[in-house]
């Protein structure tokens, strides 16, 4: 009895010391210098949420213009900028950063780690994302926003057809943002490879982490194509090269190939983590693990690989040789199989589990319904003959909103409600959440279902207005009404989150009784996540009494240390010390911002100054610590 209480005392002292060492003072400096993955993750979520709001306002303006035939709310030029920024921002500045935000906040917790593998790189990635977003949105205020559509096809976007800075904002902004995405992806991969809790062998890794890792691998291989495409377009526009100009030997289709070699994997870069969120939410509300775990993992990886072989289905109408049409058509139909496996796994989980209907589950169910509908129209597009008829019509707009809004935004909202206790320590109101779900689900389908019909009736996408009498009027009006209902629903989501954070009750520890390690930490987690290193014995560590009792009694790991484990079996290897807070990530991002602004404004001395500043900051950042006589690192 006395020994146990003595042990408890030592443990309490050790935890108190840990608290002291990890405590971040509430100062301005610490706000800018923090490397805590939870704070950075929250920032990603809030910033991406704000960009979602801005891009959503763009969309409401578009719908207002299209509410009736011959609308005159917007000029054609404004319309072009708005639909381009809506698409570009939703894809690049909202979807991926939002899901990376979830990854940042949750991956280390789910793995039982104390932070990401490269905490400072993580902070750097956030600042770059923020600055890239600010550059791109501020162009909208100045009236020079990109206006060539979110996939910016040449020759329209090349000279002489698009003079002005608009497309330079696009090319440079996306390359700048790509730095952040690449850094984030490498960080996720290394974290998942090296920082898993002892015992978390590959067959015990949570499905959400699998999804984030598969996504990160896709980013590593796909993003260079987009960066190269944008760099070549920038060179064409600014320095007179001829990559996309046939009159000097270039080729316009090169852009489409490069863009979609990135662009189709990007669809799954957005959807896979969202599917991971679904797989993470379901166990808590079905009271069992996701059915067919190995199949879901294999389906995730298969999707990631096959997605690199379907890009030309965006180009069926460009006159490619018919052999390549059949190949890409077959691959496009094939890729629905792994997605189908995941859908059946989720349905089976609900069927064989004990379903608890709460707000996060509602959004998951809404996701399954909507995503399957989007998948069905997707298979239709995979068939070349159908695609030829319907490409570039509103049917396409309907399809990809079903897949991207249904496939990503529903799980994201579900994820916000589910993880709000981890992110903020509060639980959102169930009543407001249900109203929000009703409005979002109803508003979504009222907005986008009619677009299938206006598309089949021949309405092309990206027209700023249309004459009446073509049978499109009623469907457009319905879409516009739906978009306002959808906006009301989304506002209600924001309202319920803000109310919960401002004056909601404190969440009970582990309020949903979740199965992964983020629920085994405190709610919300302490800055060091876990006082002692978790030991994992199965797929659902937070439901495992062995893990929980060892977490409460194991020796405390002191200081800023983390445990490295082996790549496959997560056997303990050694302790390493983690970097502490630093202003250098912010400074490096600012220096890069100077480079981008210099290039954008054609003030090349400024760009060169930015490059020099970046080098200076990075050299200091990575300077190795002095060795003492004994060869150890000096403190």
């Amino acid at each position: 009895m006395t020994t146990t209480s003595a042990q408890a005392d030592t443990r309490a002292v050790a935890v108190a010391r840990l608290e002291e060492e990890w405590q971040e003072q509430r100062s301005l400096r610490s706000w800018f210098a923090t490397v805590d993955h939870k704070r950075i993750g929250r920032r990603y979520l809030i910033t991406a949420g704000a960009f979602f709001g801005l891009a959503g306002i763009d969309a409401l303006l578009l719908r207002t213009q299209l509410a009736r035939a011959g609308g005159d709310v917007l000029s054609p030029d404004q319309y072009n900028q708005l639909f381009t920024m809506h698409g570009t921002a939703m894809i690049f500045l909202f979807a991926t950063p939002m899901l990376f935000g979830f990854g940042n906040a949750l991956v280390p917790l789910m793995l039982g780690a104390r932070d990401m593998a490269f905490p400072r790189l993580n902070a750097f990635g956030y600042w770059v994302f923020l600055f890239a977003g600010l550059v791109m949105f501020s162009s909208q205020l100045l009236g020079v926003a990109p206006d060539g559509g979110w996939f910016a096809y040449v020759p329209l976007t090349d000279l002489p057809y698009s003079p002005g800075r608009n497309l330079d904002v696009y090319t440079l902004g996306l390359i700048f943002l790509g730095v952040s995405t690449t850094a984030g992806a490498i960080n996720f991969i290394v974290t998942a490879i090296k920082l898993r809790a002892p015992g978390m062998s590959l067959n015990r890794v949570p499905l959400f982490v699998w999804a984030i890792v598969a996504t990160s691998f896709m980013v590593i291989f796909a993003l260079p194509a987009l960066n190269a495409a944008n760099a070549l377009l920038f060179l064409d526009r600014r320095f007179g090269t001829h990559f996309y100009q046939p009159e000097a030997g270039g080729n316009t289709l090169l852009w489409q190939h490069l863009f979609w070699i990135f662009g189709h994997p990007d669809v799954y870069i957005i959807v896979l983590p969202a599917l991971g969120i679904v797989s993470a939410i379901l166990p808590a509300f079905c009271r069992r693990g996701v059915a067919a775990y190995p199949l879901v993992v294999l389906a995730t990886i298969t999707t990631a690989i096959i997605s690199f072989g379907v890009w030309a289905h965006h180009m069926f109408a460009t006159g490619l040789p018919s052999l390549s049409l059949s190949f890409f058509s077959a691959a496009s139909v094939l890729i629905t199989i792994p997605s189908g496996i995941q859908v059946f796994a989720w349905v089976a989980t609900m069927l064989f589990g004990r379903v608890v209907v709460r707000v996060p589950l509602l959004f998951v169910v809404g996701f399954i319904v909507t995503f399957v509908m989007g998948g069905v129209t997707g298979v239709m597009f995979g068939i070349t003959a159908f695609d030829m008829q319907i490409t570039d019509s509103y049917f396409v707009v309907a399809h990809f909103h079903y897949v991207l809004f249904g496939g990503a935004v529903f799980p994201i909202i579900g994820g916000i409600y589910y993880w709000l206790p981890v992110l903020t320590g509060k639980v959102a109101s169930e009543v407001l959440g249900r109203w929000a779900f009703g409005l979002v689900f109803g508003g979504f389908h009222l907005t986008f279902f009619p677009m299938h019909l206006s598309g089949l009736l021949g309405m092309p996408r990206r027209v700023y207005t249309y004459p009446s009498g073509l049978g499109w009027d009623v469907w457009n009006l319905l879409s516009t009404i739906g978009s306002y209902i959808l906006a009301a629903g989304l506002l209600l989501v924001v309202l319920s989150v803000v109310l919960a954070v401002a004056r909601g009750p404190r969440a009970a520890p582990d309020p949903w009784d979740g199965d992964t390690l983020e629920w085994a930490a405190a709610t919300p987690p302490r800055p060091y996540n876990f006082a002692s290193i978790p030991q994992v014995f199965g797929l659902h560590p937070a439901w495992d009494s062995r893990t929980l009792s060892r977490l409460a009694s194991d020796e405390v790991l002191p200081g800023h240390q983390a445990m490295l484990t082996s790549e496959l079996d997560a056997r303990p290897q050694r302790l390493v010390s983690m970097p502490e807070k630093s202003l250098r990530p912010l400074l490096a991002a600012l220096a890069l911002l100077v480079v981008v602004l210099g290039l954008l404004g054609a003030v090349y001395w400024l760009a060169i100054a930015g490059v020099v500043a970046t080098i200076v900051v990075v050299v200091g950042w990575l300077w190795p610590p002095q060795l003492t006589e004994a060869g150890a690192e000096a403190p």
Binding site: L232, G250, L254, S566, R571, P625, Q626, G631
Partner: protein, 205 residues
């Protein structure tokens, strides 16, 4: 020799052992080099796509077949430049900082020689064609220039490691940054082979 190596490395004991532990820095650098390699693959793929979509004549405007002497000398300087880095890294692993410093200096000198030879090469080429002459000119300068940027960054990184080693930052136990810089240099070095084949040799086939 190879046969014995093969039998040894596939023996049951060898297969049962876990591979040597890799640090997070090693995985991070490998991830970075992988995405960089994808970027070069895209650029070289772009070259061949444009070349074959264009058909004959290639290059589109009258450009004489590229002279190979200077680029081959450049290759002869750059390719072996990885060897001193390997030698230097092994040296510090055995606790011989002088080998680290000497090897790094040799590689930096070879890298700088490559960059100066390329200036000569650009001087001759610019008399024949520029970035804006036609799509071949654009490809030539964009791809070689982009690689040149990587060599310059590599020289910078190696100089930084050299400076740190002169200050005594590395020991037989603590030299991870040396290994990471070496990975980057090997990559920059190997990519040149692909570029040499694509922009220079492929025309002579």
């Amino acid at each position: 020799m190879t046969g014995r190596l093969f039998t040894e490395s596939t023996a049951p004991e060898a297969l049962a052992a876990e591979p040597a532990p890799r640090s997070i820095g090693w995985w991070g650098m490998v991830g970075f080099v992988t995405t960089e390699a994808a970027l070069f693959a895209v650029l070289l793929g772009t070259f061949f796509y444009l070349r074959f979509q264009h058909g004959e004549p290639w290059p589109p405007r009258e450009i004489e077949r590229t002279e190979l002497t200077v680029p081959l000398i450049m290759t002869a300087v750059l390719l072996p430049s990885s060897l001193p880095v390997v030698w230097a890294e092994r040296g510090i692993r055995r606790g011989q900082p002088w080998r680290l410093r000497l090897g790094l200096t040799a590689t930096i000198v070879m890298g700088l020689t490559f960059l100066s030879l390329q200036v000569m090469e650009y001087r001759t080429k610019l008399r024949e064609f520029t970035l804006t002459t036609d799509v071949f000119g654009s490809l030539f300068y964009a791809i070689t220039g982009f690689h040149r940027l990587h060599v310059a960054v590599g020289v910078l990184i190696l100089s930084w490691v050299l400076a740190a080693s002169l200050r005594g930052s590395f020991s037989s136990h603590k030299h991870e940054r040396v290994s990471l810089a070496a990975i980057y240099w090997h990559f920059v070095d190997l990519v040149w082979v692909g570029i040499l084949f694509t922009v220079y040799l492929s025309q002579h086939l």
